[in-house]
């Protein structure tokens, strides 16, 4: 299987804390891979390593066969990785459409001179960007909200707008950091369908950090589990469900033993 992202032996040390410890990790193209683990396991740190916000202490990350290490966040985005944020980071005082247009920034060419002269070419580019922005908003279930300020959108809409904005960068790999956090079951179901659509119809590869196990088990092709910065398990959702180390990490040793015994009995 083609690997879109291939991380080898990645570590990140903050002072005395090893947030990510020698993790090997890869994402095959056109799949949904979930990254799970208890709070503080290093999931978001791992995300930040992928997107250039942090530089890893050791290790290599290849994206499409090209090294990602040392690139600035905007260069990572230009190569086709887009992300959303765990704590929503929209441009609050800009409209929904403008947010998506900023997402398209690196795919547009208009410079200072072009912006002032507004040649037909620039106008055409702008129109295409707007059309694409509206289309992405519609895809993410935000039709008709393009003129709303991001800060005035409901919580669920803000989460979806983050995805629309990330899609604006025209990514091949989309990193979603807890996209369903704070959503009600209804909204969660809609979002799950959206992520599936992105993979099936748009050929996107998705890396998901998620706490809602129902979502993880439903849509993931593969699941990787981090605990205290280490990768403790990796595999198909069914395998992860019954993995004793994973159960231990989440629920404690005693529970893990009884769970394994139960599994053996049945």
């Amino acid at each position: 299987m083609d690997l879109l992202l291939d991380a080898k032996d990645v570590s990140k040390v903050f002072g005395g804390l090893t947030a990510v410890n020698k993790v090997d990790f890869n994402i095959p193209a056109r799949t949904i891979v979930s990254l799970i683990g208890p709070n503080g396991a290093g999931k978001t740190t791992f995300f930040n390593l992928m997107t250039g916000i942090y530089a890893p202490t050791t290790g290599t990350v290849l994206f499409n066969g090209q090294p990602l290490i040392g690139l600035k966040p905007h260069e990572v985005t230009q190569r086709g990785i887009a992300r959303t944020f765990q704590n929503i980071r929209l441009f609050s005082n800009m409209t929904a459409l403008e947010n998506v247009l900023v997402g398209q920034h690196s795919r547009l060419k208009t410079g200072l001179f072009g912006a002032i002269t507004r040649s037909p070419k620039v106008k055409q580019e702008e129109q295409m960007a707007r059309d694409k922005g509206l289309e992405l908003l519609e895809l993410c279930g935000l039709k008709g909200k393009d003129e709303e300020f991001a800060k005035n959108l409901s919580y669920g809409d803000q989460r979806r707008l983050e995805i629309a904005r990330a899609l604006g960068t025209n990514p091949s790999l989309l990193l979603l950091d807890e996209p369903t956090a704070g959503m009600n079951p209804n909204e969660t179901a809609r979002l799950t369908r959206l992520v599936q659509t992105l993979r099936d119809e748009r050929g996107l590869t998705v890396l998901l950090i998620e706490h809602d196990m129902k979502v993880v088990m439903e849509i993931s092709d593969r699941v990787t589990v981090l605990s205290f910065g280490r990768k403790i398990a990796e595999g198909l959702p069914e395998e992860i469900k019954t993995n004793s180390e994973v159960i231990e990490a989440y629920l404690g040793k005693a529970y893990a033993q009884t769970a394994t015994e139960k599994a053996k009995e049945s």
Binding site: L3, T44, Q86, M94, V102, L112, R118, D131, G182, L204
Partner: protein
């Protein structure tokens, strides 16, 4: 290992959804209003000339000219502070650089006078503009990692360094007395001169109109959106593919180039450039214009510049004259030792204008931090809640005064303060709170890496 990345496309281009909304007629109205204002602007000096006999009209038109120069400054600072969100307290430095470049190239007292490098106004104008833009970028470069207060302090320092340098480079800039006797711009049929302000007025007006047109286009473009995204959230902006370095330097350079233009025209029209014209209070007054008008709103900023210049040049001087006159009268009747009379005379000193601006700025921040004219779309949304908003801020001010012990309000006012302390039933405030806090119930990881990044 080469992988053909799936290139997601936008899908088979669906028919573009109709762009509804009453945008187009609104735009047309705006253009009409703008055109009308521009026409009135061009006709203004001739009307004044017809109504005011003698030399009075000259001072009125020179005042109008300097108002335009300040509008230009406010437009430029608005790009840096209002759109890109970079607090610049040394904006007068670029104004000075523009003015001194112009004076250095065209003044009769400049060391270049008599050499082949002595140029005329029209050549010096773009050079001044480029010099200011260059220094804008030069100042921007070392401050790239700085935000908010730290950036403000560095720019403050730059704003002090530049006029002092000009003051001390006596050989080049004439020191305290500056450079004077600038070549007036040669122009067919029209004679520019320091005593005939109409051509200068017209030139400034044209530059202002051109600048407004330019800013409007810039803001509603890829570049303008990038600036606003930078202001809203740097980390998200860079994650969306914005080159922060480029975007910031462009904002600094653009903002500074406006000041360069303004400086060049200002020096030419008053026929001199000297260090005292570019002190710290110029930076602050321009900043006050931007804040008073409403940061990030083009028209608001222009109104802010107009209001403050009118206050500064007409209202406050006449007010202070009246106060001073009253003081003189009291002293005449009560004798020289009268405390109240002396006090009034002291108040009427020209320095009081800074006190008035300071008070204006402080009360503006407390009562209406979004400016006189916040972004029009935002105002529409706040429309019916606006009164509540002002009331809330008034309560805040009262609470602050009470807390700090400056002033105690009567018991009846205590009741008004109640909503401030606990939950509010004002829907606007509720909305503001819930959206600003970004409440996310699942965030309880011990270290939030995004916050870490902020501190770096």
């Amino acid at each position: 290992m080469s992988v053909t990345a799936p290139t997601p496309t936008t899908g088979s281009n669906p028919a573009p959804p109709p762009r509804s909304r009453e945008r187009i007629p609104q735009e047309r109205n705006k253009v009409l209003v703008f055109g009308g204002m521009a026409l009135a602007g061009f006709a203004f000096p001739f009307l004044i000339q017809a109504f005011l006999k003698g030399t009075d009209y000259i001072s009125v038109i020179s005042t109008a000219n300097s108002i335009f120069v300040y509008i230009l400054l406010a437009l430029g600072l608005n790009i840096v502070v209002g759109y890109a969100g970079l607090l610049d307290l040394g904006y007068a430095a670029f104004f000075a650089i523009g003015a001194y470049t112009m004076a250095f190239l065209t003044s009769a007292s400049s060391p270049l006078a008599g050499t082949p490098f002595h140029t005329n106004f029209w050549i010096a104008l773009p050079i001044s503009f480029l010099m200011a833009a260059l220094f804008g970028v030069l100042l921007g470069a070392p401050t790239l990692g700085l935000k908010g207060d730290y950036l403000a302090i560095v720019t403050l320092g730059f704003g002090e360094i530049v006029p002092i340098t000009f003051n001390n480079l006596t050989q080049l800039t004439g020191g305290d007395s500056g450079l004077s006797n600038l070549d007036q711009p040669p122009f067919p049929l029209v004679e520019f001169s320091p005593t005939n302000p109409i051509p200068w007025y017209t030139l400034s007006l044209i530059v202002v109109i051109f600048s407004i047109w330019m800013v409007r286009r810039l803001i509603d473009s890829r570049i303008g959106r990038a600036w606003q995204a930078l202001r809203e959230d740097e980390i998200a902006a860079s994650a969306m593919g914005l080159d922060l370095v480029k975007t910031k330097l462009l904002a600094f350079g653009m903002g500074a180039s406006f000041a360069g233009f303004a400086g060049a025209i200002y020096a030419g029209s008053i026929n001199t450039a000297n260090p005292s014209q570019f002190r710290f209070d110029v930076s602050i007054i321009v900043l006050a214009m931007v804040i008073l008008g409403g940061m990030g709103n083009l028209w608001g900023v222009i109104v802010g510049a107009l209001v403050i210049q009118l206050l500064d040049r007409l209202l406050i001087p006449s007010l202070l004259d009246t106060v001073g006159g009253a003081g003189q009268d009291i002293i005449k009747t009560n004798g020289k030792g009268d405390f109240f009379g002396q006090l009034l005379i002291n108040i009427s000193s020209s320095q009081t204008r800074l006190l008035i601006f300071g008070l204006l700025l402080v009360s503006m921040m407390l009562l209406r931090p979004e400016g006189l004219f916040p972004n029009s779309r935002r105002r529409m949304e706040l429309h019916d809640g606006d009164e509540n908003g002002s009331q809330r801020r008034l309560n805040k001010l009262q609470k602050w005064l009470t807390d700090t012990g400056i002033w105690t309000f009567r018991a009846t006012d205590e009741k008004d303060l109640q909503p401030q302390l606990g939950l509010t039933d004002d829907p606007l405030e509720q909305a503001e709170r819930s959206h600003n806090i970004n409440y996310n119930p699942s965030v309880n990881e011990s270290s939030d890496p995004d916050d870490d990044k902020d501190k770096r």
